[in-house]
Symmetry: C2
Subunit: 99 residues, 2 copies
Amino acid sequence: MTDKLTDAERSDHIDPLLENDWQMVDGRDAIHKTFIFRNFVEAFGFMTRAAMWAEKLNHHPEWSNVYKTVEVTLTTHDADGLSALDAKLAKRMDALAGG
Amino acid sequence: MTDKLTDAERSDHIDPLLENDWQMVDGRDAIHKTFIFRNFVEAFGFMTRAAMWAEKLNHHPEWSNVYKTVEVTLTTHDADGLSALDAKLAKRMDALAGG
């Protein structure tokens, strides 16, 4: 689960994320997305729900919040790059932000 | 409440924070502190409690989290620098982190 993704797996798991506003981070095998909500309560509400999933997956984001904006970077330190866990957490975050 | 602090007010409100691991941010009239907890649950638990206070004060931090570490920067955009609200939120965060 924490193996670095192969090229084939990247096509399957990362490419769809890149088409959904996730971006590769310069100089790191990591993905980043900026989520913008209506206000702080919605932004932090999203973080709270995502935090539950992060803990459940035992896979935690690097993230920051300024008022209604949440910046998320995902990578897997154990794998020294993107793993299936990053794809899983990213998809979950997209679902939480849209729901 | 959102007026920029005077020099006298800084002595009263900011100096004690600087003695408690808050630091002035280079190039900004802002304060920063790194909080380190035992794990993600404790770090995010702190953020959740602090978020309630931030919303209650209608004064929100710039903050980031990576696993058990929370980095906080406080300033008041309306005041173009530190206000009494920053001192208040900083003290509250110290209390929450220690409690």
